[in-house]
């Protein structure tokens, strides 16, 4: 007897309610991907935006950021059998690969990327009214000016916190520092940005 078409598709959907990878923690996802590399997809789906946003701060163009993002995840897939992290350490491991890829990129580029390209920097949304757009643009310019005064290490810290959305503990694991130290540095940095921003 013929089955109705929707059932055929529903039975083979990647996302199924009883098999939702989105509720699993990183360790579980890594274990699955190790057993079946095709199950790596939930890992990159979870971290794609954060890795891309971080690499966008380290590259000249969106295209370069996308290229390197792809490289990062493929490197991670290749290196997954060597991953020995404990719970909560996967994200630091992944961003270590991302930082290395960014370093390779800079080496290949043979030039220093200025921080002028700071993000999509507060690009006004299409629906915004003109006044709001102007205000936002001014804010972006001010912020860019402030960030120019920071040294690369400080800018990297901000990129890891705000683009990669890593917690202080995760940044500490990534950089091999103490969590308290990272928290202090970030707090001071925000304070400094705030003071300069106001001026």
């Amino acid at each position: 007897m013929a089955r109705p078409m929707p059932e055929l598709y529903a039975g083979t959907m990647h996302w199924r309610a009883e098999d939702d990878d989105r509720v699993l923690d990183d360790q579980a996802l890594v274990a699955r991907a190790l057993a079946h590399p095709a199950r790596f997809a939930p890992i990159y789906q979870r971290y794609l935006t954060r890795v891309y946003a971080y690499l966008r701060t380290r590259t000249r163009t969106e295209e370069d950021a996308a290229d390197i993002t792809q490289q990062v995840f493929l490197r991670a897939l290749d290196a997954l059998p060597s991953y020995r992290g404990k719970e909560g350490e996967f994200v630091a491991w992944l961003f270590r690969i991302a930082r290395n890829a960014a370093t390779d990129y800079h080496r290949r580029q043979r030039e220093t990327i200025t921080w002028d390209l700071l993000p999509e920097a507060l690009h006004p949304a299409m629906a915004e009214d003109m006044d709001a757009a102007i205000l936002r643009r001014e804010a972006a310019d001010r912020l860019r000016d402030v960030l120019r005064t920071l040294d690369p290490e400080q800018r990297e810290l901000l990129a890891l916190r705000f683009a990669a959305r890593l917690s202080s503990a995760e940044i500490a694991a990534l950089l091999g520092a103490r969590e308290g130290t990272i928290k202090k540095r970030l707090t001071r940095l925000i304070h400094r940005v705030r003071e300069q921003y106001r001026d």
């Binding site: 007897m1 013929a2 089955r3 078409m5 929707p6 055929l8 598709y9 083979t12 990647h14 996302w15 079946h36 590399p37 095709a38 790596f40 997809a41 990159y44 789906q45 794609l48 891309y52 946003a53 966008r56 701060t57 969106e62 295209e63 950021a65 996308a66 290229d67 993002t69 792809q70 493929l74 490197r75 897939l77 290749d78 290196a79 059998p81 060597s82 690969i97 290395n100 370093t103 390779d104 080496r107 993000p119 999509e120 920097a121 507060l122 972006a140 912020l143 901000l158 705000f162 683009a163 959305r165 917690s167 970030l186 707090t187 925000i190 304070h191 940005v193 705030r194 921003y197 106001r198």
Partner: protein, 438 residues
């Protein structure tokens, strides 16, 4: 719209005083400023690559073969370039509204890096490769091997997939392997995908490792083993008619008697489906037999030169140059950030040592397209501490460079001019032998 709760939670640790609105404003602006959205095509491209690697992994990761696979951990690969996918999707969307235009291919071009091994393959296949012209049809999709080429590094196979009419196909990925004499598998190395031509055909070049070919046969007898074809296509199951094969499968035919087709939704987007088309299980994977002339010549420098830098060490085992690609064989244990590069003919190339950093002591090879380089090679190893000496390993490759892009088949048939190479650099030189096989 900024999600206030998310901001509160995300940056709570950075606000000593929750009532401090100025800090809150700074955090808000930084959060906005650093936000970025990856292009949609990036996820598609990643999906294809991951699936291809997964298929390769499943194929070769068997007991007794693990060392061979480990060695390839992070070797640079030619990818289904996400740019080509973006261009492909954008162009298809554009031309879907303007009717089909024969010049579509001019808007869709893959831009490989100049040093990608694959950058030379189209002209190499066109000028030096052999026409094959064998086809197989799977569920309306026709796979045709157009040309093939074989040298001491690689077997290159150029094939194309022609979808049946009436399907909005954005991309295809073929899970295949290559077998040599007695069914011995040749390891897959890279896939090089081209955007569809004006007929909607997808052309691809796959490379396979030929370094294990014994002796100097005049030709290689090969079998392309096609396990499945994955198709990225527009389908909206509830509204659009399904292709005939899906209907066949839905009628409950025995799985061993009909092509097995599954559909997956990769991104939760119901409009784009990925169809996996497999040959009937009863018959096993589809096989296409063909033969290709084998060109055994290569330019080889065997070095086994070990360089120590701090706690890291790296051994340059050998460099093997053929028209298909240049391989640098390395092993060692390095820091993850250790920058390694080499130069030849005034051009510098970075070497990705990530695999060595991740896996510890691991043999690996790195693939470039440097067949036409003639000058001295120089590997450089910068110091770990400022002010330290940079170490170099310099050596020539025997024989003149290949020149296979002139359109002449005989242009690749260079006459070797054997020279005695030397290795120079800091440290004690180790014995070096170079050969020019022909």
């Amino acid at each position: 719209v900024i999600d206030d709760d998310r901001l509160e939670q995300q940056y709570a640790e950075l606000r000593a005083d929750p009532r401090d609105q100025r800090t809150r404003q700074v955090l808000d602006d930084l959060d906005r400023a650093y936000a970025a959205t990856p292009p949609a095509a990036l996820q598609d491209s990643l999906y294809v690559e991951v699936q291809k690697r997964a298929a390769e992994f499943e194929r070769v990761w068997r007991p007794g073969e693990q060392n061979a696979v480990r060695g390839r951990a992070a070797r640079p690969r030619l990818l289904w370039h996400w740019r080509s996918l973006t261009a492909c999707v954008a162009a298809i969307a554009l031309f879907a509204s303007l009717a089909r235009v024969p010049l579509m291919q001019h808007f869709i071009s893959r831009q490989p890096q100049a040093t990608d091994a694959g950058a030379a393959w189209p002209s190499l296949l066109a000028n030096t490769g052999s026409p094959i012209g064998v086809s197989i049809s799977l569920c309306g999709y026709v796979l045709t091997i157009d040309r093939a080429y074989a040298d001491a590094n690689d077997v290159l196979v150029a094939y194309r997939v022609t979808p049946p009419n009436g399907l909005g196909v954005h991309n295809v990925a073929v899970d295949l392997g290559l077998q040599g004499d007695r069914g011995r598998p040749l390891r897959g190395i890279s896939g090089y995908g081209m955007a569809p031509n004006s007929q909607g055909e997808f052309t691809m070049i796959e490379s396979f490792d030929a370094s294990g070919v014994k002796g100097t046969p005049t030709a290689l007898g090969l079998q392309l083993v096609v396990r499945s074809i994955e198709v990225f296509a527009d389908h909206n199951p509830p509204k659009s008619p399904a292709p005939p094969c899906l209907q066949d499968n839905s009628h409950g035919a025995a799985p061993d008697q009909l092509p097995s087709i599954t559909a997956e939704n990769a991104q939760g987007n119901e409009k784009q489906m990925i169809l996996r088309i497999k040959p009937p299980k009863l018959n096993g994977p589809a096989r296409l037999g063909f033969a290709v002339p084998y060109l055994p010549r290569s330019r080889v420098a065997t070095l086994h030169k070990v360089v120590h830098v701090g706690s890291s060490w790296l051994e340059i085992n050998s460099v093997v140059v053929t028209p298909a690609e240049t391989r640098v064989y390395l092993r060692g244990k390095v820091d993850e950030l250790y920058p390694t590069s080499f130069s030849v003919d005034g051009q510098s190339y970075g070497i990705d040592v990530q695999a060595l950093a991740d896996n510890g002591l691991t043999a690996d090879f790195y693939v470039f397209n440097l067949y036409n380089m003639q000058g001295e090679w120089s590997f450089s190893f910068p110091p770990r501490q400022p002010g330290g000496p940079t170490q170099y390993v310099r050596f020539p490759l025997p024989g003149p460079a290949y020149a296979c892009t002139s359109g002449q088949r005989e242009a690749c048939a260079q006459i070797p001019a054997v020279r005695t190479p030397t290795v120079t650099g800091i440290g004690t030189p180790t014995p070096v032998s170079t050969t020019n096989k022909s």
